[in-house]
Amino acid sequence: MPAPRTVPAVESAGVVGEAALDRTVVSLHRAAVKVGGRTIWSEVTLAVGTGEFVAVLGPNGVGKSTLLKAILGLLPLSAGELRVLGAAPGRHNSRVGYLPQRRAFDPSTRIRGVDVVRLGFDGDRWGVPLPTRRARRAADRVREVISLVGAQSYAHRPIGQCSGGEQQRLLIAQALVRRPELLVLDEPLDSLDVTNQASVSALIQSVCRSQNVAVLLVAHDVNPILQSLDQVVYLAHGGAVMGPPEEVITADTLTMLYGTPIDVLRDRAGRLVVVGQPDAPPEHRHR
């Protein structure tokens, strides 16, 4: 069950000031985003430290994907401050791995999984790869990251013929191939069956711990990852609350955030169910 966490809290105890700041991978201070003239969320303050596993939760259409796009520098803030890896968002995107919210590859897509992973390595470079030493290093790194996610047996098949879980593993490998310091995942468990949800979330957790990558993961359902989360960002009602899951996913905090009575129930297996949360108004939907 939950492994005791020692990472940021204990280590940072002895360090102060500058060094502690350096360990922050993403920080938002009183940030707001407008899309089409309408404020999606505002007054959002949060910080993600090195190697932390953070989930972004909240009802549909509340701006979870928008938060990730802002962090990637694809959407400007309308107020407040946002720093990613110590710079403006988008500056260091080569050190950020991104997995967008998506449907599966079309079954007729005739390109191999290993090619898709390779595109994550140097797909943004102009020109054609020549068989040089750099290309060999790239191929080695691709092989290494494919075995890290356990995709060796199907990485050479056309990706359209891989199952949803296999595709998701390959795409995680693509996001990891440049050894990012931050992994930004938009609903990676969506559209997977229960078995694959468990194995892909186990993979993300082990990558987060073994590679010391900070993970910021948008989730619809917190339960598959609840045991290993360091922090939760709960977005609702145009604002956000951040903290350890046991403090944030509580009846009191969510009632305060929504402004209407919310209950949080816990079943025998320890799964959380949030009851009474109103969906965002219909014009609030994704995109």
């Binding site: 990637l72 967008p100 599966a104 390109i111 797909g123 020109g127 693509q174």
Partner: protein, 300 residues
């Protein structure tokens, strides 16, 4: 024209003794390389319909140029490139957020443009009286029609096209397969998409001059579709696509020389044959692969 001797060296000498055949083979070679390469990306991006429309847009260009007494080649290139820029600029035709594994077809907009282009071409043909035999070669290709000037224009356009494709290479593949991540990685996806449409226009214009506007797919789609049935490796697929395009062009032009039937028919038929063979290969390979997989799986 003399007949087939079934002696390979003699036959080739016979083909090459005619200047129009030398020009046809030169033009065919340039066009096949460009169409095979660009076609590979077009099939991967599922933009075949856009490719077809660009070829059809070339028809009024060529007809208009002939009517005005200009080299038809300029008409093809001018109209196809302009058409590519227009299609690229139309809303809904370039969607950076489109799904994985390629783009949806921009069908409605493109279909409308295509019908209008065909109508304009027909108008220019009627304005240029006495041109009625020419309409066949504009639409379905001719083996005798390629002039020395046209070969030079094709060579320059083809070289520019290949250099640009090589430079775009990886970002184009990235933006085609996975536009969302490519954009986050700093690939200018919209620009890459627009640039590719222009390259597609150049390829379609060039191919039209050998196969005619309506049969460009013989070189633009069929070799690429054949290659993608045979392999899922990008580099190998690109090479195979060019190889198949060259093969069907050379063979089609040679057969057309010895037979009374038009070149467009032969090139298209050979390309279709290659596609059928590759599809059959893929189906059997997949079936064998599946049963092998079952054999491996079943004892476990």
């Amino acid at each position: 024209m003399t007949g087939l001797t079934w002696n390979l060296a003699d036959d080739i000498r016979q083909v090459l003794s005619f200047h129009f055949m030398v020009n046809a083979l030169r033009a065919g070679t340039i066009v096949a390389i460009v169409a095979g390469a660009i076609g590979y990306f077009m099939v991967l991006r599922r933009q075949s319909f856009a490719g077809h429309t660009l070829a059809v847009i070339g028809f009024p260009g060529a007809a208009g140029a002939t009517w005005l007494g200009i080299n038809a080649g300029f008409g093809y290139f001018g109209f196809c490139i302009a058409g590519a820029l227009i299609i690229g600029a139309l809303p809904g035709s370039a969607r950076p957020d489109a799904g994985l594994g390629g783009y949806g077809e921009e069908s409605a907009v493109i279909g409308t443009v295509q019908a209008f282009a065909l109508a304009c071409g027909f108008l220019f043909v009627s304005l240029y009286k006495g041109f009625l035999s020419g309409i066949n070669s504009l639409l379905f290709g001719t083996i005798t029609g390629v002039t020395d000037d046209q070969v030079i224009v094709l060579l320059v356009a083809g070289a520019c096209c290949l250099v640009a494709l090589a430079a775009l290479g990886r970002p184009l593949l990235f933006a085609s397969v996975d536009p969302g991540v490519a954009r986050a990685r700093g690939v200018p996806v919209r620009l890459v998409n627009a640039a590719f449409l222009v390259l597609l226009g150049v390829a379609a214009a060039g191919t039209s001059q050998v196969t005619g506007s309506l049969l460009v797919f013989a070189l633009l789609v069929a070799p690429a579709a054949t290659a993608s049935r045979l392999t899922a490796r990008p580099a190998l697929g690109l090479t195979l696509s060019i190889a198949v395009a060259l093969l069907v062009t050379w063979a089609g032009e040679t057969i057309a020389f010895f037979s009374p039937y038009p070149i467009g028919f032969w090139v298209t038929t050979l390309a279709f044959g290659c596609y059928l063979a590759a599809t059959a290969y893929r189906l059997t390979a997949d079936r064998l692969g599946r049963s092998a997989f079952r054999l491996v799986r079943s004892p476990a």
